[in-house]
Symmetry: C2
Subunit: 254 residues, 2 copies
């Protein structure tokens, strides 16, 4: 029975896609079967995994009721499948607005294939609109990447309030999977200040592992591969392997 994890934060550029792609790849490499669903009209997770011009995309499943399994493609990482996105998804928020039970549309799309995977990750766009609400309603938990900078930290409180609202209105089982500090730079006092503040406030809910700022992670998408396949020994790749281990251990606890 697949565990569905939404990767969300309305703040832009905090590492949602980089985290989705690399944690999903790390779990696939340790022999879990994983599906990544790209819910962002920018389709960064899709190009980051080397899928160009997919024939069927998530928009087709959400709006045109195309069977979910027809949209799923394999990636270069054995054990990691992708349900790709495209720019037509930008129109989905408006089109979903008038649909009956509009918050549950993605959950129904997942029901068809949920049992075929150990993990399903949902890469969310930088907003708290209907696509992100659908992801939070379909998920059992939410993983929150937080860049070690001021604006990202400032927005965390509002994000948690919105998660609580989705739990109360649409999805009582929604838990916090964890908060992941990203783009940590040991040379900067800003990084230290933000990470200390976030740990002080959220305690055990923050992953021990932090993702350092590491250029390999930013170069990998231009080759259509996760950091782990592009440069497995980089500090970024190693950190994502640590996070995937923590995620597996935490899963056993709850």
């Amino acid at each position: 029975m697949g565990k569905v994890i939404a990767v969300a934060n309305q703040k832009g550029g905090v590492g949602k896609t980089t985290t989705s792609v690399n944690v999903a790849a790390a779990l696939a490499i340790s022999h879990k079967s994983v599906l990544l669903i790209d819910l962002d009209p920018q389709a960064n997770a899709t190009s980051g995994l080397g899928i160009d011009d997919p024939r069927i995309v998530i928009y087709d499943c959400l709006i045109k009721k195309t069977p979910t399994k027809e949209a799923i493609v394999e990636t270069q990482v054995s054990g990691l499948d992708l349900l790709p996105s495209g720019s037509d998804l930008a129109g989905a928020e408006v089109e979903l607005a008038d649909v009956q039970d509009r918050e549950y549309v993605l959950r129904k799309v997942l029901d068809e294939i949920k049992d075929q995977y150990d993990f399903i990750f949902l890469d969310c766009p930088p907003a708290l609109g209907l696509l992100t609400v659908n992801a939070l309603t379909a998920a059992q938990s939410v993983l929150i990447p937080v860049q070690c900078e001021y604006y990202a930290m400032e927005g965390l409180g509002r994000l948690i309030t919105n998660i609580d609202r989705v739990r109360d209105s649409f999805n009582p089982q929604l838990e916090l999977e964890g908060i992941l500090l990203t783009m940590w730079d040991a040379r900067l006092s800003l990084s230290k200040q933000v990470s200390e503040e976030v740990r002080k406030f959220f305690g055990q809910r923050v992953y021990q592992a932090m993702i350092p700022r590491n250029v390999s992670l930013a170069e990998a998408p231009s080759y259509g591969r996760p950091g782990l396949l592009y440069n497995a020994v980089s500090s970024g790749s190693k950190a994502y392997i640590e996070v995937s281990k923590e995620l597996l251990v935490n899963g056993k606890k709850s």
Copy 2:
């Protein structure tokens, strides 16, 4: 007659708010009268200029028809005013959807105060929804920050297509003010590759000045001040002063 410039890019975290705040401040310091409008529910430009818990926000002007001048506040930078945002703006996209001439609502809000400023900047959220469409419809030109990384470059084509669409449907005068390369890191080949590619493709439309990755720019918001007031001699501040000079010179050309 104020020139209205939208600062937009659907890619998250590319420096839209940092550019809006610092270009606006640089122009105010060179004795232009400037208004910055925060169109993002995250309200980063609002907190980045030290305004906490504003009484009246842009949501009130857009949805409740509060007179525009009642929402405008002064900032610590003499000559720079702000029309602040708040989290209630997140609901505005849904509420605007059913309004008559929903794309022109912001333009009407600006009509009341346009002639009182030399420049009006619109800081957009990381999306191509109704708030950004309103900004592109109210603006005479659009300034596009592009982080020197792969995903930001990849999304540029789609952004230009969307700008063309708004020009054709709602705002024939909409021009490209310029493309600004941000978070440039001279040590990284990725930065060089992306900036060369963007200059090859967009030529003269790319500002000569590039904004370097500079921690002062990321620290300044936690003190509620633009980089220019926090650390005027930093490489980031100097670069934003260069950009504001180019913007003034370009304005004379067209």
